[in-house]
Amino acid sequence: MRFTLNGKRTRVDVHPLARLLDVLREELHLTGTKEGCGEGECGACTVLIDGHPVNACLVPAAHAEGAEVTTIEGLRAHPLQHAFVEHGGAQCGICTPGMILAAVALGPKPSRKAMQAGLAGNLCRCTGYSAIYRSIEKARPARKRKRR
C-alpha cells in the first residue's frame, strides 16, 4: 500500500485486510499508536486519516491507500504534548497518544462541550478526564504563539 505517513510518502507491502494498527506497529515500527480493546471502544489506537480521528484497529490497510495518516510520532513537540505532561493529562500513558490526536482534531480553543464530545470515543482509566480537559485548555496560549 502507498500512503502519506506523518508527511512522508510511504510504501509498505501488507495484506489489504491488515489492520492499519498492525501495519503501523508491526511493519513500520511506530509503536506510539496503542491497542486497548481492538473493537472500537477505547480510542487508544486513534490516528488521523485526512485530519479526522479514526480507530486504527477498525481500518483495513486498503482503506488507508492514498490517504494522509498522522500518528503521535508525526506531532513534534506539539503544545498539546507539553500541556499533557505539565498538567497531569497523562498518567499511565496508554490512552495519551489517542487522546492527543483526538484533541488535535478539535482545532484550537475547543469549548468544554466540544472537548467532551470530541473525546467521547477515548477512554482513560487513570486521570478522571478533568486533568485531560485542563491540559487541552492550558495548551491554548502556546498553540497561539506557535501559529504566529
Binding site: P16, I49, V54, L58, H63, G118, A120
Partner: protein
Amino acid sequence: MPVTIRHRALLSPRSLKDALRLRHEEPDAMPLAGCTDIYVALNFGTLPARGFLNLWTLDALRGIDVLDGVVRIGALTTYTALIQSPIVARHLPMLVAASREVGGPQIQHRGTIGGNVANASPAGDTLPVLAVAQAVVELHSVRGLRLVPFTDFYTGYRTSAAAPDELIVALHVPTPQGRQWFRKVGTRAAQAISKIVIAGVGGRQPRIAFGSVAPTVVRLPQTERVLASGGTILEAQQQMQSEISPIDDVRSTAAYRRQVAANLLDEFWRATGPGSARAARGR
C-alpha cells in the same frame, strides 16, 4: 498478526458496475463499508466470511441530494457527513440527532448509514428514523435496480429482503410533515449501543418507531391510531405494549424496556402532540 486475515481475500471493484458483477459471481464475499461492525467481528474471531468486497472506494455510493422533498442518501454516507449536511439538517433533523449519538467521533467518521441498515441489528440507531420517515431502500444487482419500502426490508431478526447478490446503493427518505423527535437510551451518552431507541413524527397523524424492543425495528400503527383518534396517553401506552416484544439481553431487561418505552411514548406525545407547548402556540 493478531487477526487471522491470511486466508481471506479482498475484491476491489473499480466501479459500481464492476462491484455488482463481482457480487453476482461471489455472493459470499462480504461487502466492506466503514468496517465498524465487520472489523469488530473480525478482531473478535467470530466472522466466518472468507472473502470481502471493498465498497469504500465507490463514489457512486456517496452523496446526499434532495428532489421534491425526498432526500437521497448514498449508502456510504458516514455519520459525520450526515451531521454536517445542510440538507439533512433542514429536512431530517432527527437523522442528525441519531447520527450524533452513534459511537464517538472515530466511529462517526467511518460508520455508514448503509452499513447500519445492512447490519440489521434491531438496535441500529438510524433504523427507527428510516421507519418513521417511510424511507425506501435502493438495491442494485446485475439484474437492475429495485426499490423496497424500509418497513418491508427486514423479514426477521437480522434477515432482510435483499437478495444475496444485491447491494444497498442509497436510501430515499421523504421529509415527514410534523415535528421530528428522536431519543436514545443507553448506558452512557457515547459509545453505547441503545437499550432502547425511538423516533417519532408528531402532529395529527403521528408516526412512531422503536428499536431494541423486538427482533427488528418496529412501527407502531395501532398505537399511532389511538393517538390520532384522540385517545389518552394511557390508552396509547397500553396499546403499545401489544406491539412490542422486548427481551432480556446483555444490555437490558424486557421489563425495563417496556417501562422505558411507555415513558418515552409519553415524552414524545407531550413534546409533539396537540397538547404540546408548540401546538398551544398555534404551530
